[in-house]
Symmetry: C2
Subunit: 334 residues, 2 copies
C-alpha cells in the first residue's frame, strides 16, 4: 500500500510539472493589439483581482458575467449602423413585391439611392423599415437571409466585409476574458436575430448569449410542420434603459464587467458598477479619424456625451482607439 500511495503521489507531482512547464505560450501577452498603458493595465488588473483565489475580491466562475455592446464597441458603426445597410439592401430586394414603396417614404428615398432622405425620419423611420424588412419570414428563412448578406455585402467606404470591420483588440479581450472563466454576452440595440447567425463564428459568442432588440414571433403548424413566423410588431428595444432590463430578462444576474461606446450603453454601465464587490466599466472612445472614425459628443450615431462625463466622474476606463490600440481591424479576412 505504501509503495502504491507513493507512486500515486509521484504521478500527481509529475502531472503538475507537465501542466506547468509545458505551455510556454502561457507567458505570452494575451492582448497583443493593445498598447501598454492605463487602459490595458486596468483590464488585466481587474481580471487578476477577480480570479485570484483566497482574496477578498475573488469572484466565483458562475458570476463572471461580462456584457458587450456591439455597434461601435465590437465592430464599426459608421457612416451608419451596419444593420441599416442590411435594411436598405432588403428594401431593394423586396421592392418588386412592394410597388407602393416607389412613392412611399422612407422607402422611396432608399430606392432612389438617397440615403440622406432615407434617414430623414430618424429612428422612427428606421424602425418602420426594419419592421417591413425583418418580418414576414420564418426564423429559419431570416437566418439564411442574414447569413447570405453578411458573407457577401461590402462596406461602401472600406470595401471590406462587415465582419472584417470588427475590432482586433476587442476580439482579443473577449478571448482573454473567456480564458479567465468569464461568460461573454452581447447586449446590443441591434436586432437579436440579425446578430445570432454570425456572432458565434466571428466573436465566439453563441446565440444564447446574445441580447438584442426584437420583433414578436408566433408559433404555427404549417402542413403539420412547426414554424416560428416573424411578425411586424415590436417586442423589445434593447437600448439605454432597456439594456439593464434585457440583461435581467436574459441573464438574470448583474454583470461584473460591461463594455460600451455610447450614451446608449450608459445605463448598462451604471447597472453593472452599482453591484457589490469588484466591478469594471469601459468605454471605447472613437478618436481615430485616420484609422477608423472620430466622433463623440455631437455624433448622430454612437453619441458619447453624458457617458464621457460619467466615465470621468466614476473612474471608468476610457479607451482611446488612437493611443491604446496598435491595430484596429484584424489583419486577415474573417
Amino acid at each position: 500500500m505504501r509503495t502504491r500511495t507513493a507512486g500515486k503521489r509521484w504521478m500527481a507531482l509529475l502531472c503538475w510539472a507537465a501542466i506547468f512547464t509545458a505551455p510556454a505560450a502561457r507567458a505570452a501577452d494575451p492582448l497583443p493589439a493593445w498598447n501598454d498603458g492605463a487602459a490595458k493595465r486596468a483590464i488585466t488588473g481587474f481580471v487578476a483581482r477577480v480570479t485570484t483565489p483566497g482574496t477578498p475580491d475573488f469572484v466565483p466562475l458562475a458570476e463572471r458575467i461580462a456584457t458587450f455592446d456591439n455597434d461601435g464597441c465590437l465592430w464599426a458603426e459608421q457612416p451608419m449602423y451596419f444593420q441599416a445597410f442590411f435594411i436598405f439592401d432588403r428594401i431593394r430586394a423586396l421592392a418588386p413585391q412592394h410597388p407602393e414603396w416607389k412613392t412611399q417614404e422612407p422607402f422611396a428615398s432608399v430606392l432612389r439611392g438617397d440615403m440622406k432622405g432615407a434617414l430623414a425620419a430618424g429612428e422612427h423611420g428606421l424602425l418602420e423599415m426594419a419592421m417591413a424588412t425583418h418580418a414576414g419570414t420564418t426564423t429559419e428563412e431570416f437566418d439564411r437571409i442574414v447569413t447570405d448578406w453578411i458573407t457577401t455585402a461590402k462596406h461602401p467606404k472600406t470595401g471590406k466585409l462587415y465582419t472584417e470591420m470588427v475590432y482586433q483588440p476587442m476580439l482579443e479581450l473577449l478571448t482573454y476574458l473567456r480564458a479567465n472563466g468569464f461568460k461573454t454576452f452581447i447586449v446590443s440595440g441591434g436586432g437579436i436575430e440579425f446578430m445570432r447567425p454570425w456572432a458565434e463564428r466571428v466573436y465566439g459568442i453563441p446565440p444564447e448569449q446574445i441580447v438584442g432588440s426584437s420583433i414578436r414571433t408566433k408559433f404555427e403548424l404549417r402542413d403539420g410542420k412547426p414554424v416560428l413566423v416573424r411578425l411586424p410588431e415590436l417586442n423589445f428595444i434593447d437600448d439605454k434603459e432597456g439594456k439593464p432590463v434585457g440583461i435581467q430578462q436574459h441573464i438574470g444576474r448583474r454583470p461584473i464587467a460591461a463594455f460600451g461606446n455610447s450614451d446608449g450603453d450608459l445605463q448598462m454601465l451604471q447597472w453593472t458598477t452599482a453591484g457589490a464587490g469588484p466591478r469594471f466599466a469601459l468605454y471605447v472612445h472613437h478618436d481615430d479619424a485616420a484609422r477608423e472614425w472620430a466622433y463623440d459628443r455631437d455624433s448622430h450615431i454612437g453619441k458619447l456625451d453624458k457617458g464621457l462625463d460619467e466615465a470621468k466622474a466614476n473612474g471608468w476606463t476610457v479607451v482611446s482607439m488612437r493611443n491604446d490600440w496598435k491595430t484596429i481591424f484584424p489583419p486577415s479576412a474573417r
Copy 2:
C-alpha cells in the same frame, strides 16, 4: 534532448494512467434511480448516438441544447403549482397593506383559507394574484422574498420543503446530460424570477439558462442608485405556443432534446423534434398514486392528453414514474 523527450513521454503516459485508473466511478451507472427498461435505454442510446465522434449522428458540443419543463417534470405540481402556494403566502403577508382584499375575490377566499374558492376564477384569477404579489418590488427585493420562502415553506401534504420534492431521476438525468456536453435549460410556464433564486443550487441550472413567464420591469435611478422595478404588467407567458417562442427568444437555436409532462409542453416537443438530425422527446407520465400522484387526461393541473397521443404516434419516450423510477424524491434534504 533524447532523455528529456523520453521523460516527457513518461509523464504523459503516467498522466493518462492516473486519469483512467483513478475514478472507478466512471464505469458506474450514471442513472441509478432509473430502472433498466425502454425509457432508460432510449436516453442512454440517444446520448451515445450524438456524442460518438465520426458518426453521422454526432452533434457538436455547441448544439447539444436540452430543455426541461419544471412543474411536474423536474419537481412535483400537486395539489397545485408550488408557485400558487407562494402567491397565497404572499397574499397573507401583504394583506395588512391591502384592506380591500378582505372583500375582493379571489383575494378574500385566500384570506379565508378557502383554496377552492381562490382557484375558482381559473388561470385568469391566478394571473391577477400573481401580478398583485409579484410586482411592486425591485428585482433584488423579489429575489430575497423568494429565497426566504423557498428555504422555509413546507408542502401541505408531505411536510417537505418544496425543493425536496424534486425528482431524483431527473436530477441524475440533468447531471448525465451535462457530463455529456449538453447545456441544460429550464423552459417553464412558471415565473422566471420565481425559479432563478434557487434553480442553480437545486438543479445546477444557472439564471441565464432559465426561460419562464415574466412581468415587465423598468429601470430607474433611486437617489442615484439604479434599480429594476417590477411592474404589474404581463411581459410573456411561456406556455404551450409560447414555449418555442421563449426558446427562440432566449436560446436562439432549436434544442435537440426536450423533456416535459403535459400538453403545455407539446409545442416545445414538436418544435424540438421537427429539426434535422437526431432528436429526442420525453414525457414524464404521472402514474404513481402510491409514491407521488396519478393524473393525466382529465387533470386540472398538468393535463396530459393530446401529448400522450402524439407521443405514441411519434415514438417519443414516455416515462412511467411507477415502473421506470426506483425512487421519486432525493433521499436527503436539499
